[in-house]
Amino acid sequence: MSKIIALAGNPNSGKTTLFNALTGSHRHVGNWPGVTVEKRSGILEVEDQNLEIVDLPGTYSLSAKSEDERIAASFLAEAQVDLIINVLDASNLERNLYLTTQLLELGKPVVFVLNMMDDAERRGIQLDIPALETLLGGPVIPTIGNRAEGVADLKTELLKVLAGTEPKIRNFLAETAGHGPMDYGHDIEGELAKLVSLIKRDEHLAESIKPRWLSLQLLEGSPEAVKLVGESHAREAIMAQLEASRSFLHAHLGEDAATLLAEYRYGFLHGLVLEVAKLPETPQVSHTTKLDRLLTHRYLGIPIFLAVMVAIYTLSFVLGKYPQDWIDKGFKVLSAFLSAKLPTGELTSLLTDGIIPGVSAVIVFLPVIMILMGCISFLEDTGYMARAAFIMDRAMHLMGLHGKSFIPLLMGSGCNVPAIQAARTIESKQDRLITILVTPLISCSARLQVYIVIAGTFFKPFGAALAIIAMHFLGFGLAMIIGRILRSTLFSGPSAPFVMELPPYRMPVLKATIIHMWDKAQVFLTRAGTTIFAGATLVWFLSRYPGIANSGWNLEYQQQRNAVLALQISAEQKDDQLKNLELAKESRIVNHSLAASLGKTVEPVLRPILDPDHKRTEAWKDVIALTAGFVAKEIVVSTMAVIHQASELPKAGEKLSPLQLSLRDHTGLTPLTALAFMIFTLIYTPCLGTVAMIRREAGSWGWAGFSVGYGLGLGWLLAWGTVVIGRMMGFV
């Protein structure tokens, strides 16, 4: 079995860059069991040994208060971890070492990586590495993360430590007869000893976790530690002692145990840093401070931020549109080619109308996902992301959201799918979930295509533009309101602290950005792709069966076709007639499909919105279009074209397309019900891609179902409200 090495460190310490440098291409991205926190692991091949490297979430401590900390703490305590690499930011040593004081309690060999040595040197910080090695009890390897300097030394060191031939490794627990690497003072050590002796009564418990570490966690109030003790037969004695220790410490030292422990740790670290680091006498103004004078400037900060957002938006959704169109076109050509070559029938239709569009519906997201994720990863690595959150937090907090929620919401107006993936950057689970759940309300470019057709049909040009803009404002407004409502109902617990580090600006490593883009694409294909594909195929089935299998209809179509082919008319006319025939056939299949039956069943529910006077005979057809639109909202339009047997492309010299004319003259929709239809399209459900992404990012089908459910409910209510109020005001 290969040895397991865990990579631990603070956020922004350069951990992931080091992970990339160590593992090369042998890497795997997945999720930690049961949660939506990314787990990166990879194989380091060195001197014909295979070492497994696991990158832990970046944390400031192991207090197990947040999801990330819980994951890191429980993985590190596992017996299978043979060695810990602790990545430290050399330019910010004191706070980085806080985590170290906890890692050392785990009783495992730790190798320290002193990263960002160049930053420290630039700031005039001199470090005494041998002294640091003695104090920390492990080898210290200086590195410069973005130049992979020092990585070779680290590899050699890892082998030495694993082989047990590294004299620098100190076993504090053995040396100090039970004390850890640091002494918490007479009173706390006394209480720790009492807890340890009680824990040792349960051999099984003492085997599974270092008793001293467990005692420290208990004193700090870790719920995980309490849970662990809860399974022990000695739980009553331990918990009673814990209560006694806590009140003793509070009475004697005037603060609760968690505060005291933190104070001792920082006290110890302050002394340690004084001993090993020489700071410049007059601290220089760093380039970060200089940059921040501009980037978080009182007046310029917001305009600069908006300019950055415009740049990212343009890159992702304007530039990204080109490859998207190529992919779309490529699949359409393939599908047309196959349907011309293969005999007409169910299997061909499954392939050309079901599978190929299904695959296309997945692949088409890739360019924009990769570009947007690349930009976001770049912003994160430079350190600007934290500033973006800093600048926008006030406005976002009013909506019940976090400063980092702004980017997903804004990008949602391009496409909700990558926007939800972008919510990953929000650390707190609550804030992330609220952001994920309100993002689908932001009107995306696919929905815009629906508005353009509908508004263009029923309103004068100015009114149509106004209606389309109103849809976008409605989306943002609803996101705000729903955000607030979710915050005060489902997520009413204490909101996560906004104590956020503003890391120094750094030049990102291009390779890291590319790896990140690739990881995101891979995760999307494997985790969300299957759902989208399955959904698209299901909708194909619903809208084609049973008509497609009707041999009588197929025969009729063939006869009509042959009749047209036999006519003595120009090739152009013939082509036109053949197209009409095909559309008529498609229309017949769809209008007698399972989706049509569904439409007829569901229509009464939507009647108050789409058919308030109950005069329309074909309101059920709207339901077919909306059902098909679940795959991707722009499909609403192309489905309507099929249902109403009218092309979406306007004839030469005409402003409205046959579809629009048909919608206006034959369907019985009025400007008011058309507006209600637009509102319903905005909200009724996130599209399939978005649902798949919500399920992946929120971690459960429950939240995905919730977003569909509340979308349907809210969409219905608002569309209905529009109709009712509109009619009261005299509109029809």
């Binding site: 400031y60 947040s66 706070r95 104070e263 978080t296 900060g301 959150a389 006030r394 906004f498 580090e501």
Partner: protein, 97 residues
Amino acid sequence: MTQNQRDADNNPDEAAGAQFLSQLLPGMSATVVQLQAKGAIRQRLLEMGFIRGATLKVEKLAPMGDPMELVLKGYHLSLRRDEGACILVQPLAQVIG
């Protein structure tokens, strides 16, 4: 009763010039006196270095006035003002210029 009076009643250190971190202006330095936050926020603040006696400086406020940027133990971090309102600090004599 004004907000300030109420704060003074709740906290005897007010007489000695202690203030809440949220009341400091950009450019001011202070030492931490006491954390009044509870739960996860308290734990996070402790880990980030908000312990008794630690020196911090208010670097600036965000363009919309909240959150605030602080320098603590040589690194920069941001904090919402309502979180700053849970941290009692003793302002240091202001360096002129």
